[in-house]
Point group: C2
Chain length 267, copies 2
């Protein structure tokens, strides 16, 4: 699928996607933030895809449309699929090669701790990493469509520049970056963290439709069980930008050892 | 959300779900296989949800309907959401407590190696593990609707019995079990494995609709880079049932250490 990799003198190819859709302010902010760092191509869903996790589209075909550049001079495409579809399709049908880096976001809302698993933003980034494309997902802790991306843009550029320069650039590198809400001046810096052990305590809101039939809305309370100062929840609470390196090998090696000792699966 | 946990003398509560939908032969086979091991409740999607990954339904409400038992005497519900929605909704609105174990499948088709990330079957299991419900996802390496579940049923029962009895039962335990296709007698046994490093080399099938506009179908070739005899791909190829313990902490701790040493994110 990958036709070539860029030589050092060529500009890096930067693929940008998201899960809030091509019209979201967050993807415009991300594109503006990295302008000049390489040749940028935007391929993003044509509608919001929050909470899509690592969904792919199997049962129906995908559409891809070239659209008005979301930032002047930046080739932009909308895709009818999920964030993961966008990454897969753009490599094969838009770029015709692997990009040098894939950026996803800036998500409107937090993707720290367990959110990484539900997040379309992070799933797009993880898909790139699976395909040997270093990737970074960015999220701002502000759901508002009017969110102020000033701080986000500053830290996006800082982090992308560092990663592009770094000799440690692993082809499977995937970073989950979350940026606190609020005034840029209050941010204390960047902290490399682990994914906090936290989850949602679900409570479905039960309602009746006009015909008397029940339906349910997903709601829930975020609960953090992780007291460590190394966690992303701690970092964000203390006004640091959190950076969690993410992997796609889900094997629980510790449990594997335990099971090998304790279980007897003889038929 | 959890109202109680069962005492040792009570029957365990077994929640069963899948991603192929409530009408799939695989979930009937799974339910039959564990009959008698506890009080079983089935809550599964009302339509196929393969490849949905860890998607959740945020933008629209969910419906839940009691249906004809898929196996005699087993309470059965269909849900309009994703496999992950089924787990969340059944805990809050059907069981009104956490089940003692959650079983997902039997999936029609493999979920070994990287498939764990795309799989609705495994995402349902992982969701349960996040919610402190031990879980097992089962998949048969046969896509056919006419697949023979004889071997699958034997190993499902063997593994579920062992896990229910085991003192090692971790509340976050999540197992990804894949069963080879074909005659039960040819299966050599059960092997505890790691997730093989393998991926899909995508190639989209490009077509034109009757109006002359392009559309794309996702296709791809599965490529295994993992030569280890400890991998699930190896085990299945050599006719073992593969068992991979799965975790939801995606932190790449090795890369975290490297980044702490090598990067300078000072603004």
């Amino acid at each position: 699928m990958s036709k070539a990799t860029s030589t050092k003198k060529e500009q890096p190819i930067i693929l940008i996607t998201n899960d809030d859709g091509i019209t979201a302010p967050g993807i415009k902010a991300l594109t503006e933030a990295v302008k000049g760092l390489g040749k940028i191509v935007v391929v993003a869903p044509d509608k919001p895809q929050s909470g899509m996790g690592h969904a792919i589209t199997i049962g129906q075909p995908l559409r891809l449309h070239k659209v008005t550049p979301i930032v002047e001079g930046v080739e932009s495409w909308s895709c009818s699929g999920t964030p993961v579809d966008c990454v897969k399709l753009s490599v094969d049908k838009v770029l015709h090669r692997k990009p040098d880096i894939c950026l996803s976001g800036v998500n409107h809302g937090a993707n720290n701790s367990i959110n990484v698993i539900y997040s379309g933003t992070m799933s797009a980034a993880l898909e790139a990493a699976i395909e040997s494309i270093p990737s970074i997902g960015f999220s701002l802790l502000d759901y508002s469509i009017e969110a102020d991306f000033t701080a986000a843009k500053k830290y996006v550029r800082l982090i992308v520049e560092q990663i592009l320069k770094s000799k440690q650039l692993d082809k499977h590198l995937c970073l989950n970056v979350n940026i606190p809400k609020g005034d840029e001046k209050l941010i204390k810096g960047v902290k490399i963290c682990h994914q906090a052990y936290a989850k949602y305590e679900e409570k479905f809101d039960e309602r009746k439709d006009p015909h008397g039939k029940k339906y349910f809305w997903l709601t829930g309370e975020f609960v953090n069980f992780d007291k460590s100062k190394e966690s992303d929840v701690w970092a964000l609470k203390h006004n640091y930008v959190s950076v969690v390196p993410v992997q796609f090998d889900l094997t629980n090696y510790e449990l594997k050892k335990k099971l090998e000792k304790s279980l007897n699966f003889k038929a």
